[in-house]
Protein backbone atom coordinates (compact mmCIF):
# COMPACT_ATOMS: atom_id res chain seq x y z
CA UNK A 1 0.00 0.00 0.00
CA UNK A 2 3.00 2.26 0.28
CA UNK A 3 3.08 3.31 -3.36
CA UNK A 4 -0.49 4.53 -3.56
CA UNK A 5 -0.86 8.19 -4.40
CA UNK A 6 -2.79 10.27 -1.94
CA UNK A 7 -5.39 11.06 -4.60
CA UNK A 8 -5.96 7.35 -5.38
CA UNK A 9 -6.31 6.53 -1.70
CA UNK A 10 -8.75 9.43 -1.41
CA UNK A 11 -10.92 8.09 -4.22
CA UNK A 12 -10.86 4.51 -2.89
CA UNK A 13 -11.80 5.59 0.62
CA UNK A 14 -14.52 7.91 -0.65
CA UNK A 15 -16.18 5.18 -2.69
CA UNK A 16 -15.97 2.60 0.11
CA UNK A 17 -17.33 4.94 2.74
CA UNK A 18 -20.09 6.20 0.44
CA UNK A 19 -21.23 2.66 -0.26
CA UNK A 20 -21.24 1.65 3.38
CA UNK A 21 -22.74 4.95 4.44
CA UNK A 22 -25.69 4.86 2.08
CA UNK A 23 -26.54 1.30 3.11
CA UNK A 24 -26.55 2.09 6.82
CA UNK A 25 -28.17 5.43 6.20
CA UNK A 26 -31.15 3.82 4.51
CA UNK A 27 -31.60 0.90 6.91
CA UNK A 28 -31.84 2.98 10.08
CA UNK A 29 -34.63 5.36 8.97
CA UNK A 30 -36.38 2.38 7.38
CA UNK A 31 -36.51 0.66 10.76
CA UNK A 32 -37.86 3.84 12.32
CA UNK A 33 -40.58 4.17 9.70
CA UNK A 34 -41.42 0.50 10.09
CA UNK A 35 -42.08 0.95 13.80
CA UNK A 36 -44.19 4.07 13.28
CA UNK A 37 -46.26 2.60 10.46
CA UNK A 38 -46.93 -0.69 12.21
CA UNK A 39 -48.13 1.04 15.35
CA UNK A 40 -50.32 3.34 13.28
CA UNK A 41 -51.89 0.29 11.63
CA UNK A 42 -52.53 -1.20 15.06
CA UNK A 43 -54.14 2.03 16.21
CA UNK A 44 -56.40 2.29 13.16
CA UNK A 45 -57.45 -1.34 13.47
CA UNK A 46 -58.21 -0.91 17.14
CA UNK A 47 -60.21 2.31 16.72
CA UNK A 48 -61.38 3.05 13.20
CA UNK A 49 -63.01 6.31 14.24
CA UNK A 50 -59.60 7.72 15.19
CA UNK A 51 -58.25 6.94 11.75
CA UNK A 52 -58.25 10.60 10.60
CA UNK A 53 -56.09 11.79 13.45
CA UNK A 54 -53.82 8.77 13.26
CA UNK A 55 -53.45 9.23 9.52
CA UNK A 56 -52.38 12.83 9.91
CA UNK A 57 -49.85 12.03 12.63
CA UNK A 58 -48.57 9.13 10.57
CA UNK A 59 -47.90 11.27 7.48
CA UNK A 60 -46.11 13.88 9.56
CA UNK A 61 -43.94 11.29 11.33
CA UNK A 62 -43.04 9.50 8.12
CA UNK A 63 -42.00 12.80 6.53
CA UNK A 64 -39.73 13.67 9.43
CA UNK A 65 -38.12 10.22 9.37
CA UNK A 66 -37.76 10.31 5.59
CA UNK A 67 -35.74 13.48 5.84
CA UNK A 68 -33.06 11.65 7.86
CA UNK A 69 -32.41 9.34 4.95
CA UNK A 70 -32.33 12.34 2.64
CA UNK A 71 -29.61 13.99 4.76
CA UNK A 72 -27.42 10.92 4.31
CA UNK A 73 -28.12 10.84 0.58
CA UNK A 74 -27.24 14.52 0.20
CA UNK A 75 -23.93 14.11 2.06
CA UNK A 76 -23.01 11.03 0.00
CA UNK A 77 -23.83 12.80 -3.26
CA UNK A 78 -21.73 15.79 -2.26
CA UNK A 79 -18.84 13.51 -1.24
CA UNK A 80 -18.93 11.70 -4.55
CA UNK A 81 -19.62 14.47 -7.02
CA UNK A 82 -18.86 17.87 -5.59
CA UNK A 83 -16.26 17.25 -2.93
CA UNK A 84 -14.56 20.56 -2.16
CA UNK A 85 -11.57 18.77 -0.63
CA UNK A 86 -10.72 16.99 -3.85
CA UNK A 87 -8.68 19.82 -5.36
CA UNK A 88 -6.88 20.28 -2.08
CA UNK A 89 -5.88 16.61 -1.91
CA UNK A 90 -4.90 16.45 -5.57
CA UNK A 91 -2.76 19.58 -5.36
CA UNK A 92 -1.06 18.83 -2.08
CA UNK A 93 -0.91 15.03 -2.04
CA UNK A 94 -0.12 14.37 -5.66
Amino acid sequence: MGDLLASELFIILTVLISGAGIVVGVIVPAIGQMLVASRAMNAIARQPEASDAVNRALILSLAMLESLAIYILAVILILLFANPLREFIVNVGG
Partner: protein, 222 residues
Amino acid sequence: MGIEEEFVPVILFQLGPLQVTSTVVNTWIIMAVVSAALIVLGKRLRVKPARWQNALEWVVEAIDGLIQDMIPEHPRLFLPVVGTLMVFITAANLGGLIPGLKSPTSDINTPLALALVVFFSVHYYGIHEKGLLGHLKHYVEPIFILLPIELASELARTFSLTFRLFGNILGEEIVIAVLFLILPYFVPVPMMLFSIFTSVIQAYVFGLLTVVYISGAVRAHE
Protein backbone atom coordinates in the same frame (compact mmCIF):
# COMPACT_ATOMS: atom_id res chain seq x y z
CA MET B 1 -18.64 13.86 -16.32
CA GLY B 2 -20.25 17.26 -16.29
CA ILE B 3 -22.34 16.43 -13.26
CA GLU B 4 -20.66 19.20 -11.27
CA GLU B 5 -22.96 21.65 -13.00
CA GLU B 6 -25.79 20.11 -11.01
CA PHE B 7 -24.34 21.71 -7.94
CA VAL B 8 -22.81 24.95 -9.15
CA PRO B 9 -25.29 27.40 -10.63
CA VAL B 10 -24.47 28.83 -14.03
CA ILE B 11 -24.28 32.62 -14.10
CA LEU B 12 -26.21 33.93 -17.08
CA PHE B 13 -25.96 37.70 -16.99
CA GLN B 14 -25.34 40.66 -14.73
CA LEU B 15 -28.06 42.98 -13.57
CA GLY B 16 -26.17 45.88 -12.04
CA PRO B 17 -24.25 44.52 -9.07
CA LEU B 18 -26.24 41.24 -8.98
CA GLN B 19 -25.36 38.12 -10.87
CA VAL B 20 -28.38 36.36 -12.30
CA THR B 21 -27.98 32.59 -12.32
CA SER B 22 -29.92 30.01 -14.29
CA THR B 23 -31.80 29.10 -11.11
CA VAL B 24 -33.23 32.61 -10.89
CA VAL B 25 -34.28 32.54 -14.55
CA ASN B 26 -35.98 29.17 -14.01
CA THR B 27 -37.79 30.62 -10.99
CA TRP B 28 -38.96 33.55 -13.10
CA ILE B 29 -40.24 31.24 -15.80
CA ILE B 30 -42.19 29.12 -13.31
CA MET B 31 -43.57 32.20 -11.56
CA ALA B 32 -44.66 33.69 -14.89
CA VAL B 33 -46.36 30.52 -16.13
CA VAL B 34 -48.19 29.75 -12.87
CA SER B 35 -49.25 33.36 -12.29
CA ALA B 36 -50.43 33.84 -15.87
CA ALA B 37 -52.40 30.59 -15.86
CA LEU B 38 -54.08 31.33 -12.54
CA ILE B 39 -54.85 34.97 -13.40
CA VAL B 40 -56.47 33.95 -16.67
CA LEU B 41 -58.46 31.23 -14.92
CA GLY B 42 -59.40 33.61 -12.13
CA LYS B 43 -61.26 35.83 -14.51
CA ARG B 44 -63.48 32.96 -15.58
CA LEU B 45 -64.87 31.90 -12.21
CA ARG B 46 -68.57 31.19 -12.15
CA VAL B 47 -70.97 30.47 -9.31
CA LYS B 48 -71.76 27.11 -10.88
CA PRO B 49 -68.27 25.70 -11.27
CA ALA B 50 -66.86 23.99 -14.31
CA ARG B 51 -64.69 20.93 -13.80
CA TRP B 52 -61.37 22.71 -13.57
CA GLN B 53 -62.82 25.22 -11.14
CA ASN B 54 -64.12 22.35 -9.03
CA ALA B 55 -60.68 20.79 -8.96
CA LEU B 56 -58.98 24.04 -7.98
CA GLU B 57 -61.59 24.69 -5.30
CA TRP B 58 -60.95 21.23 -3.92
CA VAL B 59 -57.24 22.04 -3.64
CA VAL B 60 -57.89 25.34 -1.87
CA GLU B 61 -60.37 23.72 0.50
CA ALA B 62 -57.89 20.95 1.29
CA ILE B 63 -55.23 23.50 2.24
CA ASP B 64 -57.79 25.52 4.19
CA GLY B 65 -58.92 22.40 6.06
CA LEU B 66 -55.32 21.56 6.87
CA ILE B 67 -54.81 24.99 8.43
CA GLN B 68 -58.14 24.93 10.21
CA ASP B 69 -57.33 21.66 11.94
CA MET B 70 -54.19 23.07 13.47
CA ILE B 71 -55.11 26.73 14.05
CA PRO B 72 -58.83 27.04 14.61
CA GLU B 73 -58.71 30.70 15.62
CA HIS B 74 -58.27 32.56 12.33
CA PRO B 75 -57.27 30.16 9.64
CA ARG B 76 -57.80 32.51 6.68
CA LEU B 77 -54.94 34.70 7.88
CA PHE B 78 -52.39 32.03 7.04
CA LEU B 79 -53.94 30.64 3.89
CA PRO B 80 -52.05 32.97 1.48
CA VAL B 81 -48.60 32.15 2.85
CA VAL B 82 -49.10 28.42 3.16
CA GLY B 83 -51.04 28.11 -0.09
CA THR B 84 -48.47 30.07 -2.07
CA LEU B 85 -45.63 27.99 -0.64
CA MET B 86 -47.35 24.75 -1.53
CA VAL B 87 -48.38 25.81 -5.05
CA PHE B 88 -45.01 27.32 -5.89
CA ILE B 89 -43.04 24.37 -4.55
CA THR B 90 -45.23 21.91 -6.46
CA ALA B 91 -44.79 23.87 -9.68
CA ALA B 92 -41.05 24.29 -9.10
CA ASN B 93 -40.50 20.61 -8.36
CA LEU B 94 -42.54 19.43 -11.32
CA GLY B 95 -40.93 21.97 -13.64
CA GLY B 96 -37.76 19.93 -13.67
CA LEU B 97 -39.50 17.28 -15.73
CA ILE B 98 -40.07 19.68 -18.62
CA PRO B 99 -37.17 19.48 -21.09
CA GLY B 100 -35.13 22.66 -20.98
CA LEU B 101 -36.16 23.61 -17.45
CA LYS B 102 -34.31 22.61 -14.32
CA SER B 103 -36.11 22.68 -10.99
CA PRO B 104 -35.12 25.84 -9.12
CA THR B 105 -35.50 23.82 -5.93
CA SER B 106 -32.60 21.62 -6.94
CA ASP B 107 -30.22 24.50 -6.25
CA ILE B 108 -29.80 24.75 -2.50
CA ASN B 109 -30.44 28.49 -2.47
CA THR B 110 -34.14 28.23 -3.33
CA PRO B 111 -35.13 25.81 -0.54
CA LEU B 112 -33.00 27.85 1.83
CA ALA B 113 -34.86 31.00 0.83
CA LEU B 114 -38.22 29.29 1.30
CA ALA B 115 -37.18 27.94 4.70
CA LEU B 116 -36.11 31.44 5.72
CA VAL B 117 -39.53 32.71 4.65
CA VAL B 118 -41.07 30.14 6.99
CA PHE B 119 -38.66 31.07 9.80
CA PHE B 120 -39.43 34.78 9.61
CA SER B 121 -43.15 34.30 9.17
CA VAL B 122 -43.28 32.09 12.28
CA HIS B 123 -41.73 34.90 14.31
CA TYR B 124 -43.80 37.55 12.59
CA TYR B 125 -47.10 35.80 13.28
CA GLY B 126 -46.00 34.96 16.82
CA ILE B 127 -45.24 38.61 17.58
CA HIS B 128 -48.42 39.71 15.81
CA GLU B 129 -50.47 37.40 18.02
CA LYS B 130 -48.82 37.68 21.37
CA GLY B 131 -46.63 40.74 21.28
CA LEU B 132 -42.85 40.67 21.44
CA LEU B 133 -42.58 39.70 25.12
CA GLY B 134 -45.28 37.07 24.95
CA HIS B 135 -43.65 35.47 21.95
CA LEU B 136 -40.22 35.40 23.55
CA LYS B 137 -41.65 34.10 26.81
CA HIS B 138 -42.85 30.95 25.15
CA TYR B 139 -39.24 29.87 24.61
CA VAL B 140 -38.52 29.83 28.33
CA GLU B 141 -41.96 28.54 29.19
CA PRO B 142 -41.56 25.02 30.66
CA ILE B 143 -38.11 25.36 32.26
CA PHE B 144 -35.60 28.13 31.76
CA ILE B 145 -32.76 25.66 31.16
CA LEU B 146 -34.47 24.50 27.98
CA LEU B 147 -33.67 27.80 26.26
CA PRO B 148 -30.53 26.64 24.36
CA ILE B 149 -32.37 23.53 23.24
CA GLU B 150 -35.23 25.67 21.95
CA LEU B 151 -32.84 27.95 20.07
CA ALA B 152 -31.02 24.97 18.59
CA SER B 153 -34.31 23.44 17.52
CA GLU B 154 -35.30 26.65 15.72
CA LEU B 155 -32.10 26.41 13.71
CA ALA B 156 -32.57 22.69 13.15
CA ARG B 157 -36.08 23.25 11.81
CA THR B 158 -34.88 25.68 9.17
CA PHE B 159 -32.06 23.41 8.10
CA SER B 160 -34.24 20.35 8.01
CA LEU B 161 -36.84 22.09 5.85
CA THR B 162 -34.08 23.17 3.48
CA PHE B 163 -32.34 19.85 3.22
CA ARG B 164 -35.50 17.78 2.99
CA LEU B 165 -36.69 19.68 -0.07
CA PHE B 166 -33.25 20.10 -1.63
CA GLY B 167 -32.12 16.53 -1.04
CA ASN B 168 -35.28 14.98 -2.41
CA ILE B 169 -35.39 17.03 -5.59
CA LEU B 170 -31.65 16.93 -6.31
CA GLY B 171 -31.52 13.21 -5.57
CA GLU B 172 -34.30 12.53 -8.05
CA GLU B 173 -32.60 14.65 -10.69
CA ILE B 174 -29.28 12.88 -10.28
CA VAL B 175 -30.92 9.46 -10.45
CA ILE B 176 -32.77 10.46 -13.63
CA ALA B 177 -29.53 11.81 -15.10
CA VAL B 178 -27.67 8.59 -14.31
CA LEU B 179 -30.49 6.44 -15.70
CA PHE B 180 -30.42 8.59 -18.81
CA LEU B 181 -26.83 7.49 -19.37
CA ILE B 182 -27.90 3.85 -19.37
CA LEU B 183 -30.65 3.92 -21.97
CA PRO B 184 -32.06 7.32 -22.90
CA TYR B 185 -35.81 7.87 -23.37
CA PHE B 186 -36.85 4.54 -21.87
CA VAL B 187 -35.10 3.78 -18.62
CA PRO B 188 -35.66 7.17 -16.91
CA VAL B 189 -39.44 7.09 -17.44
CA PRO B 190 -40.44 5.06 -14.33
CA MET B 191 -38.19 7.26 -12.22
CA MET B 192 -39.78 10.37 -13.73
CA LEU B 193 -43.25 9.07 -12.89
CA PHE B 194 -42.12 8.36 -9.36
CA SER B 195 -40.60 11.82 -9.10
CA ILE B 196 -43.97 13.40 -9.95
CA PHE B 197 -45.35 11.62 -6.90
CA THR B 198 -42.53 12.61 -4.56
CA SER B 199 -42.50 16.22 -5.81
CA VAL B 200 -46.11 16.70 -4.80
CA ILE B 201 -45.53 14.92 -1.49
CA GLN B 202 -42.53 17.10 -0.66
CA ALA B 203 -44.50 20.26 -1.37
CA TYR B 204 -47.33 18.98 0.83
CA VAL B 205 -44.90 18.12 3.65
CA PHE B 206 -43.29 21.56 3.42
CA GLY B 207 -46.67 23.24 3.75
CA LEU B 208 -47.74 20.90 6.54
CA LEU B 209 -44.61 21.62 8.55
CA THR B 210 -45.08 25.35 7.99
CA VAL B 211 -48.57 25.08 9.47
CA VAL B 212 -47.25 23.05 12.41
CA TYR B 213 -44.51 25.58 13.17
CA ILE B 214 -46.84 28.57 12.85
CA SER B 215 -49.40 26.90 15.07
CA GLY B 216 -46.70 26.29 17.66
CA ALA B 217 -45.96 30.01 17.77
CA VAL B 218 -49.51 31.30 17.54
CA ARG B 219 -51.55 29.02 19.70
CA ALA B 220 -51.57 29.30 23.45
CA HIS B 221 -50.00 26.36 25.22
CA GLU B 222 -52.54 24.01 26.69
